[in-house]
Subunit: 403 residues, 2 copies
């Protein structure tokens, strides 16, 4: 474990001395109230001024790269010592070049269109009486995220750009990385806003306490396991934005371009099987059964190492083992295949067994696409594109985090 | 109490016989699930088809006016017998011409722009990859409303236009009026959608039960007392859209056109003092103290019968009695007057003591207006217009109900 170098601490923490001590004298409610007060001052800045803060944050990240990496190495050393599995250690690691790429993404965000104070609708409701609907910040967000410390940078930058206050809780295995990133970022926030704009929560008890303050916190976003999301939802009156399940479907219509269908299915399943937007169920129009084109797709999945399971109808035709359930998130190299009569029965299947996350139709028939896009009640509905595109950064919203 | 005429019942209730018996065999959960299923079919209709339903609803209201009025009279007779206060009886009454005006408002709603399937944003995120953000229905709404039976018509029409399923609970004193309006409206819903699109809840127990089904109901809108709203909020995991308090402010800046300020203050306080958007607190820039123009406004309020109370600063200057609290909703011919240093301290006062409902600035200074409009964290922020304009119908949103 490397030791922190004194001068940098001196440079970094001139406003407030203690680095590792979470300020025990401040109650969590006071943290929330302070974040709200700071957010109101932030909202009063111009778009250019909020941009400037992000540019300063990006510069500060780069200027403090050594310090950040040494703290990250300390977390990694502790994780190795604790015997954490390699996937977790990998997510925890800030790889070489990561700080530079984070700084770059913060600068990109700085240059995006201002998300607040945008006039969404303008109507003259009576002579001289103009009604405007404008976008505005949400207020104070409580965000609970996983082990990836880079998420802290993305979330904090989005909050600064959009005029929101933040309370952040990261994974305990990334404690030192998060603490240093938090310090670097909040030190770049000017005094006329206040560094308490972004509070760092370090214990689960504090979360339980914060969840009671529905008069100060406007939204909770838990990013993590289904269990975490369900637990947060059941223990607060604050609105919770989160999805527990990601049972995503690809429906191949009889009118589909089967070469395209193959590319979409392979990408949706194989690109990153553990992702919440990976395909879990492949629905196929009944007319495609026993065609060489469908067979080609199934063989390609098998060849790539995907274990195929079947719904009750497909089981009789294809003979792969029956899936335990039609609402199943494998999060691995496996998927369920089922046969449906038409687009309507595909939609019914998705409503019955899906999770309203991301669902896709592959078709060359505009009417089928229209029906699917209009009727499927999911956050993202895709037409001739892989479910993997369902992602805040790919949607051009600045980062994956708040999609 | 008039007796229902057989033929009309025959015409009206051909799909399902019993009028007064709430279907006890259907559990409330089944009602919610049915509303969701019907809403999905409704969502699959074209805008023209949804319009057509509303036109049919309007026709059905007019065709059944006698029947509706006789049921309303039965409610009124029962209310008189129970000795209800006259304000409640007045809200309960469908006055002559009310059915015609309701039918007219339903037709107006039919002709408004389609609120769903609107493309809100369209971006080409990569070559050939187009991202669209579209407006869509919320799903199933549970709406609890007060004694005014006309609210049922407004809410139901908005739901039909916007592709949502509904569960409605009206006041028990309007039971028969609500039942007949519900029947008239649902009978106008075509079979390819299903009359169970709109369920009528008749008991409080059913509400308590419904509030548990957060997997089927998407939003609860309680319209009623602060107590009702608070109680609903504390007993469900379903998101609740509702405001408990309406402590609305008018801030008169030193730059205000004082003639305009007078008209706004008088309208905001006197037009309908019991309304949630009536002015409760008048904030005045310190430079206006002891000016004849401000005196003129205060005298006009007094002359109109408004009891004036003061915040601590104004009390010393103006001498009216101190208000019990600065967060006070009089809902009557009374208001608090307080002096503030400038627009910033007016904003701070509003954030501290207001209810984030509706607040207004009167000024001729664009910068002051901009600061107020941007910073005040309320649902509606008004600039040189009375707080009474904060209303769904006046905002051109089709009805007062879902503003």
């Amino acid at each position: 474990v490397k030791v922190l170098r004194g001068e940098k601490i001196g440079t970094l923490f001139h406003k407030n001395a203690s680095l590792w001590e979470p300020s025990k004298d401040t109650s969590v409610r006071e943290m929330a109230v302070a974040a709200r007060d700071c957010s109101r001052r932030l909202q009063n800045l111009t778009s250019e001024e909020r941009k400037k803060i992000l540019v300063d944050v990006a510069d500060a990240l780069e200027a403090n790269e050594d310090l950040i990496r040494s703290e990250n190495e300390a977390d990694l050393a502790a994780a190795h010592e604790a015997g954490y599995e390699s996937a977790l250690v990998s997510r925890l690691t800030l790889k070489p070049g990561k700080i530079a790429s984070l700084a770059k993404s913060v600068r990109t965000l700085a240059n995006m269109e201002d998300p607040i104070n945008e006039i969404l609708k303008r109507t003259e409701v009576a002579d001289g009486l103009v009604l405007e609907k404008t976008s505005c910040p949400l207020g104070v967000l409580l965000i609970i995220f996983e082990s990836r410390p880079d998420a802290l940078v993305q979330i904090a930058s989005l909050a600064i750009r959009s005029g929101n206050g933040l309370l952040l809780k990261g994974g305990k295995e990334a404690m030192r990385s998060n603490a240093i990133l938090h310090k670097v970022i909040t030190n770049a926030i000017p005094n006329n806003v206040g560094e308490k704009l972004i509070g760092l929560i370090t214990t689960r008890d504090e979360i339980a306490d914060l969840l009671k303050h529905d008069d100060v916190i406007d939204l909770v976003i838990p990013r993590g396991s289904n269990k975490l999301v369900a637990q947060i939802k059941s223990s607060t009156k604050i609105p919770v934005l989160g999805h527990a399940d990601g049972v995503c479907h690809v429906y191949i219509d009889k009118s589909a371009d089967m070469d395209m269908a193959k590319r979409i299915v392979m990408d949706a399943k194989i690109d990153y099987p553990a992702a919440c937007n990976a395909m879990e169920t492949l629905l196929v129009h009944k007319d495609l059964m026993k065609t060489p084109e469908l067979n080609d797709i199934l063989v390609a999945l098998k060849t790539a190492g995907v274990n195929l399971y079947c719904g009750p109808v497909a089981h009789k035709v294809l003979g792969y083992p029956k899936a335990d359930s039609l609402h199943l998130e494998y999060s691995s190299m496996a998927c369920t295949v089922e046969i449906v009569d038409d687009v309507q029965s595909a939609i019914d299947h998705i409503h019955r067994y899906g999770s309203a996350h991301t669902d896709c139709v592959v078709t060359t028939d505009d009417k089928v696409a229209e029906t699917f896009l209009r009727q499927v009640d999911s956050a993202a509905v895709l037409y001739n594109a892989s479910t993997r595109f369902s992602d805040g950064a790919r949607f051009g919203l600045g980062a994956e985090v708040l999609a």
